[in-house]
Structure formats: structure tokens, C-alpha cells
Symmetry: D3
Subunit: 299 residues, 6 copies
């Protein structure tokens, strides 16, 4: 009988997911995959299975991933020193070659993991079907090489794949008008793609719990931020290093038509499922100013 | 933290459902809805939400329902005495009128419950689109009135509804060549429809635990029966009253191309979800002789 | 030779229908079916065959029907007293149950008659596919129970059926936001549906000859009324009881985009065919102010 | 009141047509148009309107026409003497030029008449879309010039036009493998086309009443002939001149899959409507041996 | 080895065509076919094969043709004197009959030539599918008979044919509201059709080299003219006889949305290919004022 | 005038291509890209533009490529020694990683080149959409690591891309049932893919002139070989090293339904165009025994 109660509890979990499944049925969602969730083997398997579930219950997921640590590792292997300028990797031709090889390796690895759990996936870069067209990124006078800024997202290939039931797995490489390859910031790529395909949700898997009102006080984690509130926070000077551009990205994405953007803690197992299928607010959601709020602040 | 473990458990339930969702994605399944699950208000709500979930994760459910007790209640209300012959209701014209009114009432009630949980449903009888064509049932020399035997299932309306994302909710009334209305056994209707649409699964919600090898010994519940084993059991004389025609029906359905037929205990909450999304064998499954077995016998 | 002349006359009737068939080919038309035409067996058969013909020559008919007398008959059968307030049936829960059962009975009966003449039909209420969403009707302070006012018509199911060659037969029951059932005035339902599907024509089968300029003088039957003229007539105080809301309905329908609304005398055999396929003006047509007139006034 | 009876009679004519409309709805029918019905202005207008009606009530008509008398008239105009061998026009290059010009003139004239009554039509010869491919007809040793025997019907263009709601109007000219133009017997063309498109009916408009058991006795007109009976009649020696090849054609058409072939008297007004929409057997029908018979012999 | 160089040269020609093929892929182009290219047998064969190639590499060509000299020849044959008024043929009923017969003869001849090179073609006049609707052309008080001015182009038939991979071959005959046939200037027809289908290019095959800045000086051939320049030229008084209306036509076509109009010298072999697939400017192009220029003036 | 002759010659080259374009219009063709044509920059650009032209004139090309020399270069860069066993690279995990990175690098490079000439391309490996499923290759008792033998080609992704106008560019990596990556011989991959998609043609770009009857005598190059002749040649002992498996592959491909397989000399500029668009036989064609022969043997 104990056993039966257990099963019943399981059934109830499925039933609880019902309204969440309905809300996003047929909608396109973009998952920016990065951080610890890409390194830890178990977390990785979980992310893949979570995305598979999203696909199977009728969502149209797109994965955009980076490859930071792996790139540095391979740079060393082939004796190229990694140089940075204002936080951006200076990417000369030999570096770009390594960047592209490593990102494609990660890309096809993710595809295999998706296929293994029975979901059809296709690994592309922004060069395929000219999905990501870039301009060379300018940082004052400094030439930082093949680092690109997205100027156009061509959604034809993405829609072809989504409409035919494939999950696009995208690595952030684009080409300029001369069809040279450029490295793109993965967060930027995820945002631009989410905006271009009119995603209902964009979720960043990060290595932080979310956005804090006061970064020094972990108890001030914010569950939900309107664009207006986010912009105030950006102006407050309270937002530090890595989070700053991410929040800027989130705000841009919302303004380009994405309904909700989530900063999730990728170190939490199944954080995607928790976010998509339960009413537990994990991490921080940035939403349009008129968007209905789901969560009360946790403070 | 306790809280987090709880959430994680929930996520794992969803993940466990993954292979089951994949197996039946896009497949048509027929649920014969009857017994206690149609009377008890909570069970009823559960069945509806279970079917909604099946629909949302990509299955194509069809509901076929009966209305036994409700019919008898209304017969009394309008002072018609219920007469039976060999277990079949003798259905003269006035009785048939009541039968049809009551079944349609139940039918549209189920539709409203489906719509309430956000699933689009359409309530039809076998007269709509001539879905169920019958001959008058002959029981020796005895005229038992408007009781029909299905001779043809016209799937056009069913496919139109399924292909356009509606859940057909069907009450077992058909018409003969003169387009008179006939009462049909709901189990028969479910079987004929499952066979005609090429259902992957047919599930009977009943008021028993399943099939017993020895009906007097509750510990002999059988989890899985091949057609061959089912036919041996039918021959053994060990199968009693109501279960006999049901097993015959199951065997017929399998032979007409349905992959798996399940006799479920509708008194168990969410028995449909347990059956479809977990590896817990509840009730009894009848399967083709070459079909792969999922469960070990419980004995 | 006489015989041949006879046949020739028949051929000429068909040829005369040609321009009328062309005018409405592929157009959706709504027939509000009620009054004597629903009671008299021969008239009933004629209406059904007329609608079948409309379907076959390329129109897309929708039938909306009521059930007044039959409801009262069944109320008596189960000992519920019919109470009215300002002409509206006070509909408590037990009454609503009977209303729904009787309307569905009539509904499926019409479906069978359509199928019998070879036209595919589906009987639905406004609860199926949430076709009719209502608010509770307010009549001053008086609570008249489950009587609804249409607030939204969901055309998805209607279009699915029409596009797949089925004739929708609709009984005027809708559901509110809590998915409770409500009785709706059939004329209102026909109007709202005609407006929502963009019908080219809406025809009311009634028990009157049409609209009279002077109700006391049968020689003042009006063949055609522009919306402006209809509104003047409504203001004149010359229009009596049952006709008043019907003309209001007609005017609303025209304003919502229906091209022509007809008040036909359902007691005339084949009045639908006469209206659709000949240049004989029977009954009264309400038309947009700029609509071309077909008939001269009969006065 | 008299007036009303008159209208009622008209309605009944339409209702009588109902089963005939149903039987051929969506079916392709071929009308071989020729004889007096092509010369007399009123008959011509009637044929056109009859075909328009067939189209509007859901049939898919194809017209195949000849041009006998008109060709001879133009031959004279340009001083070419018409020569015949065994009933076939000897068609040298200059003759063929005239034949083609005259047939196209008639062809486009029929198209205009169809368009005038509101039906979309396209005039083609067998050269367009290579609909009719021929071999040179051999008559013993005699070279009779550009007279062709059909070896292949290419239905692509026909289906494109039918599927897009155009009525194909076809003149019997084909091309050989060298793409030279050839004159084809119009009856042969109609038969070959009817067989190739799988027509449900093929109707010949002729200048005779039909087939007589005894050609000398007008009272022996035959209403219906099975293929077997037709072949017996052909063997009997009782069938004279022009009728012989026509009956051969009919039998061939039935054997190639056409359901019914009709030899109609094109001199009777609206003979097509009488044939398609009433139970009056005019002319003679050749039907498959197992086809159900509609008419009793008139004898 | 010499041989190999030769083949390589050939491959390079194909490769040079690449950007031109890309530019017009899937675009509709109209070729007005007339002049010497319709008389000389070899030029004729070349035009047909050129159009076939355009079709095969993914363009959607439409041919519009005239028939000037052939008409005059046949007029004589049947002893009708050709009369002209202000350059327009006075077209009484008998003349119109000849005009139509001759144009249809040419029309079907071109179809056969297209079919011979393996391209599916359909020969139509503006009467088919009511493609060209006209008003009677008025020239002051003078009645010049059945000469029409286009008032409407119905593109349904054209699109049906193009979408189903047929090349429409069109002769310039239209019908008025009474469905009488009218002769239309072929240049006008080509322009109106190009504008109606939104052609990317309209090419006139003529018997001149192109437009000259000074008609007396052959060295002043103009390669490219903007609409503005063309209008200045028209105002200059330097443009003579036949060229004047043609340039007016070109300007009108551009203003109606055609991107580029070309006046080509049909006496040059494969002038269509040279124009479409190479960067050699032959003849004169009229282009929109903001259109990019391809050629330098040849002067 | 000289100039004009030159242009005319160009036009004639295009016209000569006409029948070749027609023959393969809409057909799928597979190009195995390898050897010198992948190393020499000019040859590379030519191959890309040739494939672009094939795409634009209506063929559906698929590119399959290898990466031999580049892999060896990168192995050295990361200090992995290349080991071979019976001509097969022994591929341990670290080697496989390099193989995959290099092949993907080449793959995406080809995609960029295709996109640069205006053709939409997508670079995939056999892991994407599980296009290539493999078993571990067994070479007697020797474990040669991640070297795979194709057991199944899943064409869904390929057809999705082809049907949506993308050129698939495929590198020969597949996954086994455990979804580990395996290196596949590129010739094998090209053959299996050509067979699976029902290619009309499979062309190998190689570094040899073709097949010689006597490898020592360059004058014995064979233009065309039936399967039967190819098998005799294989039996003759006259075929050496690298050519042996290639001919086996060709024969297998033909037997699996590919119509023609070509061994081309990739060192000849535009060899693909010469093969596809001219009647010059370059290299050796293997064809089905009943296939029509195009070339005479060169001997």
C-alpha cells in the first residue's frame, strides 16, 4: 500500500505539470547551455534529458552552447597562448581554427547525447544556412581578430529543422560578408536567435543562483524582475561583473519580443524542468513590464 | 534543502515518463470509460485530467463511454421499467429514447470537463458522420428491440477530429440502414473503434483489479497475457461472468491490429497515468503473441 | 409528346437555378430551424432534403435549431413545472438537465435524417470545442438560472467540420467560464454563429409569413427591408411581440457582416429552395443599406 | 395559390435531382459534343448551360468536340477540295492547316460561351501538354495523310485544369513523335480521354434517337445495353453505318473503365440534364455487364 | 590537349551563367515574341530552345506572340482586303474570324515546338479563363471594329499553369463584357500580362538593334535607359514611328512593377540567352530610376 | 563581329547543356569529394561552383567528403602518432577526437564556400539525425578502434534538407548503438548514402584518370563499364590497390539502385560540369547492365 501511495504521488507530479505543458505547447524556447552544467557529466545528462522532455511534450527547443574551458584546454594542446583584451579573447586565424574545431566537437557531442535519448537533433554553426551573419567587433582601436557581432539572423534553416521535428543545437560561430568565420559570444547568440524566432522563453544555464538585490547578501535573490526594474537595477551600480552583460542581454531579448527570460542555476539538477513544469521559482526571471507575475519575491 | 530534494524527486518522475511518452507519441489510443470511475466525482476529475495529459504529450486519445446506472435512474424517473434478457436491456422505442438522452447528457458532460482543463473535445454518438453502423442484434428468437451489433466503423469523422486536435468523446449509439437508433454495448464499441482507427492501445476502466488465474484467489492476478494464453484461460472455465466477454473483446481487438489491450482498475486514482507512464503493471494486459513483454507476473 | 414538354419544363427549372447556385457557391449559410417546420413530419423531411441540396450544389450550410415544445413536453414527463419570467424560461439545475437532454435528442435526430439522405452531418452543442461561450443572462434583479448570453463564438470546430464536408447541426447550449451549461435563445445563437463564420446568408424558418408594415393588414407583407428601413419600422411601434427581437437580431447580424438575413415562412413546403433558387420573394429579407435589391415590394 | 403550386412543382424538380447529384458528385464526366447541337444556336446555348450546371453542382466535366461541317465550309473558302477514303478525310498538309484552324476557332468559341455563363474554361488541343499522342493511321496501303490514331493520353494537363476548377474544352488534334499535327476522329478522342481520366460517364451528343434493335422500326429503341448485349447486337448485322463505330467505341470505353456511356439525341433540348438529373431514359446507355440497370426498356 | 582547353572553355561559359541563373531563379519572365524571329525557321528554333533553357534552369517564362504577316497572307487567301486606320487594322467580323484562326494556328505551332524540346506548354488566348478582358478601342469617331484595349488581366489561369510547370503561350485575343472576341496589340498584351503577374523581366524580340539616341546614327545605340531618361527621350522628338509606342509600353510596364524591360534584336541568334546569361548588353534595357545599372553605354 | 561569334559560341554551349539538364532535373546526385580537388585552392573553388550550378539548374546535390591529409597534419600537431593496420587508421579515443574535429572543420569550411556562391548549405556528420548508424569494423582479431561499418542510413534529415532547398555537406562519421562516434571510409559513406536516397548519379572525384583495362597502359582507359564487365575486370586480377575497393563500391551502389556511378579525375578543372553537361566522357562510368550506353570506349 505504501508502494501505491508512492505511485500516486508520481501521478500527481505529472498532473501538476499539465498547465505548464499547455502554456508552452507548440512554442519555441531557447536554452543557452553553458557553465558547470556543461562540465559535470551527470548535470550534462540531466540537461539533455530535460530538453528531450520539453521536445516530447510539444515544445520546440533550440540549444545554443558555448565552450569556454574546453577551448582553453585545446589552445594549450597546440601551444597557442590565449590572450584577452577587455574580457574578449583575441582571436587570430590559428586561434579561430581551434575555437571552431572545439565548438564543433562539443556541438556534435551534444547532438549524439540528444539522439541517444531518442530525440532527433542537428548540430549546426551559424555558418550553416548563413544562420548568423556578423560584422567584425570593434573595441576602440584595438584589433581583436575574428570576434563577431551579430548583424542578422537568418531563420530559414532553423524553421526548417523545427518544423520537421529536429532540435537545432547551435554553436556560436558566424560568418561575415566575405564568409570568414568569427567567434561570437554565446549569450549574444542565444539572445539574437531567441528574438529572431520569436521564442516564448529564453533560459540561461549559469553558475549563479540568480540576480541579487545586494550581491553581498545571498538572501536578496530576486525571483522576478520587470524590464523597468531590471533597468533600475542596472543603473544602481549594484550589479557586478559577469551579470551585467547578461542582464543587458535579457532586457534586449524582452524588448525584441521574447516573453520571458530566465537566469537559472545550472548547478541544480533538472533546473530546466523545475523552471518549466513547477511553480517553484528558481533563479531570476526578467519579464515584460505588462507580463503577469508568477512568483512572489523570495526575500 | 529538504524542499529541494522534494522538487528533485518531482523532476525525476517527469524524466522517468520520457521513454513512455516516446513510445506512444503520435499514436491513437482508445479509453473505454465506465464503472466507478464514472460515478465518483474525484475519480472522474482524475480520468479527465489523465486523458488531457495524454493528449498534451502527443498521444491521440479517443474516449468511449457507457452510462449504465444513470440510464436506470432516468428510466425510473419517467416510469419505464427496465427489462433484461440474458443480460441485455430490452430496448423498445421509449426506452431507446431515454437511453439516447442519458448517454448524450453524459457525453456532453465529459466534453465540458475536458474543455475545462483546456483540451478541445467533441461529443459525438455513432450516428454523427455515420461512425457506427449496426445490424439489429439477434438473440435466438427473442426480439430485444433497439440493441445493435456493429457491422461497420466509418473513421472519417474520427480522423477529421483527431487530425485537427480534438478529442472525440463517443457514446455507443449507432444507426442501422434505415437510420434508426440502436443501443450498443460500450465495450464492443470501444473495441470496434480501436480496431478501425488502428489504435496502439485500448484501455478498459473497470471495477476489478484485473484477470485472475484463479478468481477465488486474489493473489493470482495476471499482469500480462498473450492472446494464446488468454484463449487457453477462456477455455479453462476459470473465467467468470462479466470478465468473459471482456476478454473475448480484448482478444478480438488484438487480432484486428490493436497492439495492447489493458484491463485497468478504474477505482485506483490516476490508473491511466500509472499504466501509461510508469513501469508498474496495474491490471492485466492482453498482448499479441509476438509482442515484447514488459512485466513479470506478479504471482 | 406531352410527356416531353413536361421534362423540358423540369430541365428549365434546373437551368433557372444556375445563377443562384453560382452566387452562393462555396459560401457559408446558416439556417435557424424552428417552429412548425420542426413538428410536422413532412415539412421536416423537406427541410432536411432542402439543406442536403444546398450542401450538394456547393454551399456550406450550418443548421441551428431550438426545441421549445418538446422541452415543455419532457418537463411534464418528469414533473418539473415550467416557469417563465418576461418570456424567458426560468432554468434551474434540474430544468437545465432536461433542456440539454431534449435538445441533444432533437439534435442527433436531425443528424440521422441528414445522414439518411446521404449528407454527412455532426450534431454538436455550443459546449463542444467551446463553440459558444456565455455569460449568465441578467434580467434586472431576477435570477432566472442557467440562461446564457453569448459572449464569444469559437469557430475552430465549425471550420474544421465545414472544411471536411460535414454539416454542423448545432443546439443552443453554451458554457460559462466555469464550464457550467446554459440555455441560449436559438435565434441569438444562429445570429452570433452567422456573424462569426461570416455567413453570406442567414435564414430563419418561422411560423409567420414575414414582416408586415401593418400587422393587422396581411396585404402589407414587406419583401425587402434595408437596415435603415428596419430600424425605422422598429421605432414605429408597429412591430409586435415575437417579431421584435427577431428583427433586432436580423439587424445585428447584418451589422456584423452577414450579407442577407431572411425571415421565411417555414410552413411553406421547400421554402428554403424557393428562397435560394428562385426569384420569388417569400417572406422578408433584411439587407445592408447598400445591398442590391432583388424584389419589388409586394404591396 | 395557383402560383404557389407552380413554385412547389419547381422545388420538387430540384429535390428530384438530389440523388443524381449525389451519385456523380466529384466525378469526371466527358461530353462528346457534335452534330446538330453544334449548329443550331439555341441547342448550342442549352448544351453550354447544361454543362455549366453539371460543373456547378460538383461534377468535373470535360468537353470534346468535332467540327465536320464547318471544316468543309472553310475548305471551300480556300479552294481545297475535300477528298475522302473509306469515310476518312484525306488530309494533306494544306488541309490539315485548315482543319486545325477551324477546330481551334470552334474550340475558342465554346470557351467564350462557357465563360459567358460564368464557368471558367480553357480551350486546348491534344498538342497542348502533349495530351494526345498519335501514330499515323494506316488504311491498308492508302496514304490518307495527317490522320492520327491515338496511342497515348497524357492526363497531367487535364488534371491540372480539373483540379483548379477549369472546364477543359478539347479539339481532336494530336501530335506524333515528330510533333507533327494530326486530325483525330472526335469520338475516338472522347473515348480515349474518358478512359484515361477514369470518367464515370461519357455522353455522346448525336443526331439519332439512340440504338434500335431494328433500325427500320423506330419503336425498337433500346434504353440500356450491357456490353455483352452490345456485342451481340454488333454481331447481328442489324447495326448500320455511322452507329457501328460509335457502339464499338462505347464498348471499348466501358472495357477501359468508364462506368456508363450514353448515346443521346442532341436534338432534344437539355438532353444532358434530362439524362443526368432525371430518371427518364433518353437515348441508349451502354453499361458494364455487372452494372445496375436504371431503366426498363421503352418498347 | 587542345580538345581539353575547348571543353574547359565550355565549362567556364556555364559557370559564368551562374549569377544570372541565381538572379532570376523562380521569377516570372515574359517574352514578347514577334518580328523576324517568328519567320526565319532557324531563329524560331533558337527562340524556342532559349525559352526551354530559361524554364529548365528555374525561371517561369510566359510567351506572348503576334502574327502580323501571316494574318495578311490568310486575309488574301480568303479574299478579304486588309484595311488600316492610323496603323490599326480595321477588323470587321469576317476579318476577326481570320485573325483569330491565324493567331491560334501560330499559337499551337509554338506549343508543339516547345513540347518537341521537352518543355510542357499550353497555348491559350486571352479568352481562355477570361485572361484578357477588353473594351472596344475608340479612335476618335472612327469605328475600327473588333480591336480591343485591355481593361483587366485575370491571372488565375496563368498562375495555375505556371505553378504546375507549364509554359503559357498566349495569343493576343481578348473578350469584352458580351464575350465577343477582339484583336489586341501584342505588345500591349505582353506589357499588361507582365505587369499583372509581377514579372521580373519583359523582353521584346524586335527587328531593330535597340533604341538610338540619334536614329540616324547607328553608333548611338543606348544600352540602358532609366524611366526618366526614356521619358526625356520620348519628349525629344528624336524617336520615330514604331519605336514610340514600344517605349511608351516599356515605361508603363516599369511603372506597373516590372523590374526590367528589354528591347532585343530578334535577328541575333540566341539573343535571349545572351541577354539573360551574359554580361553583354544587347539591345536596350529600360529600368526603374533606382534600379542598379549593369552596362556602360556602348557609345 | 568576331566578338559576336564568340558570344554565339557561348550561347551554343548553354543550348548543348539543355538535354543534360532535362535528364537530371529534380534528381538527387551524390558527389564524393576528395583527393587533389580538396587541396588545390582553385580546383576547390571550381568544385564548389560546379555543385552550385548543379543545384541551380534543378538537381539535388549531396556532397560527401573525406579529410585524409588534413587529419594526419593535425595528428602531428597534437603529438599523436598515426598507426595503420591493413590500410585502415587505428583510431583510439584521442585519435577519434582529432579525426572528428578535423572533419568538422573541413565540413563547415565547404559549407561557407557554398554559401559564398549563393547556395544554401548545411554541414552535418552522420551523427546528426542519426543519418549514419554503424557497427564496429572487425578486421580479423585486430582491434582497430573507432572505425565503423555502415549498417543503416536514416534519410529523414537528408530529405528534409533537400526538400527545403539546402545542399547537405556530409562528413563520414557515424554512431553505433551506444552513440559513440566512429570514423567511416568516405567512399563507403558516399555509396551507402547514394543508395539510400535513390541517387540518379554518384560521382567520385579522384586523383586518377579512371579505370584502365591494363593499368600499365594509359591508352586503355575505359569510358563505360557495365556491372557485368566491372565484375569480370575485378576477377581478372588486373585492378590494383586503391581502385579495387572503389570499383567494388561502384558495383554495390549500382546494385542498390543508383543509375550511374562515375570515377572522375578531380584534377581536371570543372570535371563535374564536363561529366554532367557535355557528351565528353571523362573518367570511367559504371552502369547497370541494361543501362543505355552514352560513350564509345576510348581505346
Amino acid at each position: 500500500m505504501e508502494d501505491m501511495e508512492n505511485w500516486l504521488a508520481k501521478a500527481n507530479v505529472l498532473i501538476e505539470a499539465l498547465p505548464y505543458i499547455q502554456r508552452f505547447h507548440g512554442k519555441t524556447i531557447v536554452v543557452k547551455y553553458g557553465g558547470s552544467a556543461m562540465v559535470d557529466h551527470d548535470l550534462k545528462k540531466n540537461v539533455i534529458r530535460d530538453v528531450a522532455l520539453l521536445k516530447l511534450v510539444g515544445f520546440r527547443p533550440i540549444i545554443v552552447h558555448g565552450g569556454g574551458k574546453e577551448i582553453t584546454k585545446w589552445m594549450k594542446k597546440v601551444d597557442i597562448e590565449s590572450e584577452f583584451y577587455k574580457g574578449l579573447r583575441i582571436t587570430d586565424k590559428p586561434s579561430m581554427e581551434i575555437v571552431e574545431m572545439v565548438l564543433n566537437k562539443i556541438n556534435k557531442g551534444l547532438v549524439s547525447m540528444m539522439e541517444k535519448v531518442g530525440v532527433r537533433a542537428v548540430g549546426i554553426s551559424g555558418k550553416d544556412g548563413s544562420v548568423l551573419k556578423v560584422d567584425k567587433k570593434l573595441v576602440g582601436d584595438k584589433d581583436i581578430g575574428y570576434v563577431g557581432e551579430i548583424k542578422e539572423v537568418n531563420t530559414e534553416l532553423l524553421n526548417t529543422l523545427l518544423d520537421n521535428d529536429f532540435v537545432p543545437v547551435i554553436c556560436p560561430i558566424g560568418s561575415d560578408d566575405g564568409f570568414y568565420s568569427y567567434n561570437i559570444n554565446a549569450d549574444d547568440a542565444a539572445c539574437a536567435i531567441a528574438a529572431a524566432v520569436g521564442a516564448a522563453k529564453l533560459a540561461f544555464l549559469t553558475d549563479v543562483e540568480g540576480v541579487y538585490a545586494d550581491p553581498l547578501d545571498k538572501s536578496t535573490l530576486i525571483s522576478e524582475l520587470s524590464v523597468k526594474e531590471a533597468e533600475e537595477l542596472l543603473g544602481s551600480g549594484n550589479i557586478g561583473g559577469g551579470m551585467l552583460p547578461k542582464i543587458h542581454n535579457c532586457v534586449d531579448a524582452i524588448k525584441s519580443g521574447v516573453s520571458r527570460v530566465h537566469i537559472l542555476d545550472g548547478r541544480i539538477e533538472h533546473c530546466l524542468l523545475l523552471e518549466f513544469f513547477t511553480n517553484r521559482g528558481i533563479g531570476t526571471a526578467i519579464i515584460g513590464d505588462e507580463e503577469e507575475r508568477y512568483y512572489e519575491k523570495n526575500v
